[in-house]
């Protein structure tokens, strides 16, 4: 299978990582809380990977990524509620549907707004994010179960290590192959110079829309996993700060680096949750004081991120 061949090393590495994690979980060394955090970090990686495709590879700046994450979460949670699903296998099509729905919304919103240039695109996606937030806050007027601003409760807990791991590995390989394909090359061309890409005959509108849709699909899948991990959804989980979270992961990991996103996702979630354990709650509030400073300093010193365009060899992408 050529699909998997190039990523052989990655598959081996992730199999080893899976065995290590499973051993850690079973041995009881990792508490319930730590297990939850590990799964959450993997979910964040999937969503950030989506933003990396949109922003890191294609250069389309989005401040509304959390909205697509939220759409995926709410749609899949509604479906598990409607069909009373509680097994992993029955959940898989729902997860896929949540992702596809998110991607569809991304496509529909992307067709018009991707014409906009960087900072106007940022405002438009920010506006879309706020619009989704308002709609979620008022969602209980349409269907009471969604809960509106009270939050969506009673979602079954389906997400487990195996599910997250398989989905993550699969999506990383798909993303890697896409980036490796001609489409990935077109995306990176557009990021470097949109005008020149048009001159080469690249259909920039279609390519941008494709990258945006795919990125939103990843966010939607991650949202579905998130909903069935924490079993509670609230519109405030999907606001601007969440989008900033994804942005920080992409930038810390480096624009246009899958490896970077994976490591940055683990580091970032570990760092935030570690602070929660290590620091008393009074100091914890300081974290949103330091995160922006960190972001500003990063922009001054390494505007393209720490590992920009560097890939670890285990993904099998040869960059020259």
């Amino acid at each position: 299978m050529t699909f998997l061949k190039g990523a052989k090393r990655f598959l081996v590495v992730s199999a080893v990582a899976y065995i290590l994690l499973k051993a850690l979980f079973l041995s009881g060394l990792a508490t319930e809380y730590v297990q939850q955090v590990v799964l959450y970090a993997l979910v964040m990686i999937i969503a950030s990977l989506g933003l990396n495709v949109i922003y890191g590879y294609t250069g389309q700046f989005s401040l509304g990524h959390a909205a697509f994450y939220g759409i995926g979460a709410y749609v899949s949670a509604c479906l598990t509620h409607a069909f009373a699903v509680d097994s992993v296998y029955a959940f898989l099509p729902i997860l896929l549907f949540g992702g596809l729905f998110s991607g569809l919304i991304g496509y529909l919103i992307g067709v018009p707004i991707l014409k906009l240039r960087d900072d106007f695109l940022a405002i438009a996606t920010l506006g879309f994010g706020m619009l989704v937030r308002v709609l979620l806050d008022n969602s209980d007027k349409v269907a009471d179960v969604v809960g509106g601003s009270r939050g969506f409760i009673g979602i079954p807990r389906i997400t487990n290590l195996e599910l997250v791991f398989v989905v993550l590995v699969f999506l990383v390989v798909v993303t890697r192959n896409l980036i490796f394909s001609k489409y990935g090359l077109f995306w990176q061309c557009i990021k470097d110079d949109e005008l020149a890409s048009t001159a080469f005959g690249i259909d920039t509108g279609r390519m941008k829309s494709m990258a945006f849709t795919y990125g939103c699909f990843l966010a939607g899948v991650a949202g579905g996993l998130y909903a069935h991990l924490y079993t509670f959804l609230h519109p405030s989980n999907f606001d601007l700060l969440k989008s900033i979270d994804f942005l920080v992961i992409v930038i810390v990991g480096g624009m246009g680096s899958i490896t970077g996103t994976i490591f940055a996702g683990l580091l970032w979630v570990g760092f935030i949750e570690g602070l929660r354990i290590a620091l008393p709650s009074g100091i914890l509030e300081l974290r949103w004081v330091f995160i922006p400073i960190f972001l500003i300093i990063l922009m001054m010193l390494r505007p393209y991120g720490l590992f920009a365009q560097k890939e670890s060899r285990f993904l099998g992408i040869d960059k020259t």
């Binding site: 018009p112 707004i113 960087d118 879309f128 619009l131 700060l241 400073i293 922009m299 505007p303």
Partner: protein, 296 residues
Amino acid sequence: MEVLGYLLQQLVNGLQLGAIYALIALGYTMVYGVLRLINFAHGDIFMFGSFVAYYLIAKWQMPLSLVFVITMAATALLGLVVEKVAYKPLRGAPRISLLITAVGVSLFLEYFLSLDSMFTPNYIAFPRPFDVVAYDLSLVAITNIQLIIFSVTAASLFLLYLLVYRSKYGRAMRAVAHNQETASLVGINVDAVISFTFAVGTALAGLGGILYGFAYPQINVFMGIMPGIKSFIAAVLGGIGLVHGAVLGGLVIGVSEVFVSAFLSSTLRDGVIFVILLLVLLFRPNGFFGKRREKV
């Protein structure tokens, strides 16, 4: 007649909100003109202005004229510091880096000022230094606060017009907005002009903060987010970079927001504003007044 009266009353209320949005939008549009940067932190500087005015009025019982002067000076100072510390090192960097920095500055101001040792995250009642008087004009009633807001906004617009179109500094600003490199070639100190523009824009945001406190006397460190974004939308609506566009956009956004709250549902009003933004970006991305006109 009653319906007409209600309609007119909502229009006056909308213009009151719109006049404040216009003041904030002016800062966005001026900064965008000279720096091509969406200053995300502008809404937070507006919030800072409200808090400074609150301290001056509630804690030190300053006379109103001094409140205006000191608040505007304080926000201008904050604007200058933000520009020097955060934006200036990035001159010539990719625009997105600048934008991310601006988002960072905005979050920093919000969360730093929400610390208990600063302004605290609580809602604070803003003291009005005078009593509210409503003048009944048969169809509509106008309060003295609305009169103050309208006259202060009109006066500052007039002064801004003189500054931008009738003074040497204004000519330098317009030159920098037109082309930074050429402006520096003919001997304009571009950095000084950018700093000056920031100071003027953020002083207007401070003015907006005081007036907002008078009109909606409850302030909070996160209060700048929504007015900030809506004012930016106002600036885009009128055509970003244009002074009169920002004012018209502000009034339109303010009136439509109040109308949506009055006739539809107050929970939907933010949603409607963003629908307006998306429609404007799609169909008139250059705003009402296009882009071929002279910019600031």
